[in-house]
Subunit: 640 residues, 2 copies
Amino acid sequence: MKAERIIPVPFNRVSVDDLFWSPRIETNRKVTVPIGYEQCRNTGRLDAWKLDWKDGDPYRPHIFWDSDVAKWMEASSCSLYFHPDNKLKKNLNGVINLMEKAQQPDGYLNSYFTAVEPGNRWTNLRDRHELYCAGHLIEAAVTHFVTTGDDKFINIIKRYADCIDSVFGNGAGQKRGYPGHEELELALVKLFRATGENRYIELAAFFLNQRGTRPHYYDLESASREEDPAENYEYWQAHLPVREQTEAVGHAVRAMYLYSGMADVAAETDDEELAEACRILWRNVTGKRMYITGGVGSTERGESFTADYDLPNETAYAETCAAIGLVFWAHRMLHIDMKPNAKYADTMERSLYNCVLSGVSLDGTRFFYTNPLEVRPGHAMAQSGLENNYRYFRQEWFNCSCCPTNIMRILSSFGQYIYSSSNDSIYVHLYAGSTVKVVMEGVRVNIRQKTEYPWKETVTLSVEPDEPVEFSLSLRIPGWCENASLELNGKEIRQLQITSGYAHMRRLWREGDTLNLILPMPVQKIEAHPEVRGNCGKIAIMRGPIVYCLEEEDNTQSLNDIRLDSSAELKAEYDENLLGGCTKITGTANIRKGEVWTDHLYRPGIAETMPVEIKAIPYCLWNNRRPGGMLVWITENIPD
Amino acid sequence: MKAERIIPVPFNRVSVDDLFWSPRIETNRKVTVPIGYEQCRNTGRLDAWKLDWKDGDPYRPHIFWDSDVAKWMEASSCSLYFHPDNKLKKNLNGVINLMEKAQQPDGYLNSYFTAVEPGNRWTNLRDRHELYCAGHLIEAAVTHFVTTGDDKFINIIKRYADCIDSVFGNGAGQKRGYPGHEELELALVKLFRATGENRYIELAAFFLNQRGTRPHYYDLESASREEDPAENYEYWQAHLPVREQTEAVGHAVRAMYLYSGMADVAAETDDEELAEACRILWRNVTGKRMYITGGVGSTERGESFTADYDLPNETAYAETCAAIGLVFWAHRMLHIDMKPNAKYADTMERSLYNCVLSGVSLDGTRFFYTNPLEVRPGHAMAQSGLENNYRYFRQEWFNCSCCPTNIMRILSSFGQYIYSSSNDSIYVHLYAGSTVKVVMEGVRVNIRQKTEYPWKETVTLSVEPDEPVEFSLSLRIPGWCENASLELNGKEIRQLQITSGYAHMRRLWREGDTLNLILPMPVQKIEAHPEVRGNCGKIAIMRGPIVYCLEEEDNTQSLNDIRLDSSAELKAEYDENLLGGCTKITGTANIRKGEVWTDHLYRPGIAETMPVEIKAIPYCLWNNRRPGGMLVWITENIPD
């Protein structure tokens, strides 16, 4: 018998009630998702579906608009599941009705190509986001179906998927192309899972296997358009067949979506070769090309990966969507092997608690597209010529507004990242107050998680089976944690059985069984690999999964001049009045005295310093007060 | 009686025979200047003067080509003065003949506007370099006249200057405009000095005084072209009248040329208000906006100044031409007051010995346009997508090739920066082996300077008057130097009279009088102002005027990971086999051990380090071996 794979517990089986996440999820539901609708409406993204745009009208539809609407629909569907809301439902159904009317006789469904360039369908897969938009529509429809049971939207979308399936493939007269912006691959796996229709996963595998093969489809395609081919296809991750790719290259969001689709297909089809390609790429990203915040993409140029260990802090791109994409990929890597490996959950947690959450303001109204690790606004403004630069000031919306709607959907579906299960085992990947409903060996089991993580060290899990049942419960021991301990019904478990980063407990679970997991959270000074040139001689502060930063608001303007002794004591303290409640880190560092600096820039000799109190806040909460300087990597001094 | 101003001793009265400079000047003459001719010829810059270009021909003339040719002519004229060379003379005269034929009946002389856009003369002063090219032609012609005595070229150019003088001015029907790229102002002062014609300095003053006035000429001009005006005029230093400007803004080369012209006009016309504007701008540049190498311009965006203390090392623009422009300006600031102040010579020296000289390879064949203070080639390539990136690999030429020809002219006229004089005093600004011929109180005096500066600490000056004569000899005590001492005829002068940074000796000088100036040159660890964020926690190494850097070639690839103790001993040693002979700096630093870094990027705890020998070379000599990493600002550690 084939062993049963562990799969995620979907978000609708997990109700979240958490000190850290719930306020953000609530703000997302009450503020951000409604903003998404207003923005889509006000910018013409909804009206585009009326297909009546003509030259001269304002708001010319754009090739990627459908994806914004779809991501908003996905977020709305999730939101409606736990919180019925007639207005939201009406808005959502209104969009579905527009799409129904916009669908072409052959199933085709794209507002831009139908209304603006009807003759140019499928003529530029490389650059024009047609299949990318299709992917987001599919994701939205699957979520809508799962959360509402209503099959109207998914039926529309299945017709579109079937249309795509008829156009692309190895058959006679079919196109051998594949998405320039990956996304459809992972979406087709979702559609396969929701419908059980094999042709969808086969189409996903087709797109993956075609990618980067010779003769290059994008060469042929650009020749048909009488255009020069691209110099190379790294930007699109189409420079090599995906199984031969070993380094993360090109546009970071595309890369994350591609690798997510690869991991999905590898898991569903038991394709070990494809799984191994994913593992190699994973090691490259997390071992050489990822910011400490879980951000990826080191340059604005092409929103791209660059080279191993090239992780500049000030000019970091670290797009919010790319961090979200890394969460998607990490989540899928957890399910690529027969049993999860906690290293994937460590990275999922790193991105979620840091670079993802920094993408939206505490009040849910403004968004970061890029997430630098160091900012000095006056200098950034002078360098770029832009006031209220998007690098240090969250914006209300963007022309290319992928990040806000991605934030909406990940926050509204957060519960799905916490647990995975099979018939006789359940894994806890993340620590967040929640209740999960699963069935173990035919018995209904609720597990209730109570915690003030990531501020406090204790997680309490109550196991509530309908009747006593044997199964395995596996708790992730985070990679950042040393000396974790676990109590069962008040007694410490002496010999924790930890494999692949999870503590496993197999037993006959009874109503009232209670686990206390203690994850000591000392303040940690973190150093980066010596090849990360910008972090040499510097340390970052972490506590638990939280990366800290210094903000000008709490410290001096000259954040860079703060020198922290390697031996300095740092104190963690929860402050309920700070930024919605969070644990701050304080301590004493040194800074140069200013008196000797009059009108000169350079002087010989060694600085005289004086002590300075510093206060660090979670990176994910920066820029929620006045715009000002921010710094993650702090100059370190090693006294003898 | 009006006090006599100190003025520069022109280059043709100074013969240079110096360990440091002569090889560079010789290479410039023998290799670089001939390359300049070949490049101007091969790229169409010379043929442009035939005025026969027509649509479809290769090498469409460009609006700034005339300036490249003119700067080459200036360099050639200087070169010919000390080294007659028939081939060079023939080439130079050939160009003059072309220009003679190209001159229009009204004196107008511009290859581009005559051949390519004959109808568009003077319609876009802001952007189209027309008056800038005129300035360079004037500089070339003045130099040609001074060095050859031949007035053919200067007569051509005077006709052009007169043409410009008739077009621009406050008179009826005259244009109120001024150069978008400054240069003509300082050139007109040179023409005034060479000819004694007041109208030239009046025109220079007119251009300066018009600049930035309202209604804005560039607004009117763009309206005439039916174009939108610029958002503001900082890029062109035309945002305010020049007397109201207090911060260096916009394009750095333009700024340097403007301020040079302002200083010239201030000195020649005793315009104290204009002089004060220069002093204020000087304090802003050297106190807040200058790299330690004497480079200026902190961003590639507009090749511009940015904000106070914004001096990033990796992305420094620090254009070679801007450093040369800073030398021009500093040289003029030395002569803006009745007596020189050595602070201007300090900066002149800083730029000359560091950022100017780094602009050309030791063999004279390749050029840097930008001069960053930190480079990691693999990362720079990945960030830019450019192989053999111009930021870490000198190029043979550029489409916009202002820097190579600027290098040619400054090296071929280097002697002019060493001395200044009046009727009864002589100032020594720079220390370089040379002989200067001056007349003091009617008596011919030769002063012979012998030194191995900047490698050795002693400068010997022999005073050789035709007959005993009283005058004042003033020697600059460099700002970097503590404990300078001076011997006259073997006896130490106990009480050096130092004012404004010069040691002054007034006496009856006799044949055979000899001065020994000793300038102690310990290796100095230099720190930068705390607001220079990228240099916090770092030190630069200097010895005398020379800024040092670490090159990958001599050290490790992870230059950034080198930590130098503030107390570390550094040793200076002359190495005749290193890069044409130079003093290297060596010592012991620390670097992290690599073993613990396997496949992870971040780890808690403090690095274990091990000692590493470091070797620093002069910044001006970097990138003369294999391309590799380079670093000026080194991580500093302060042990207890």
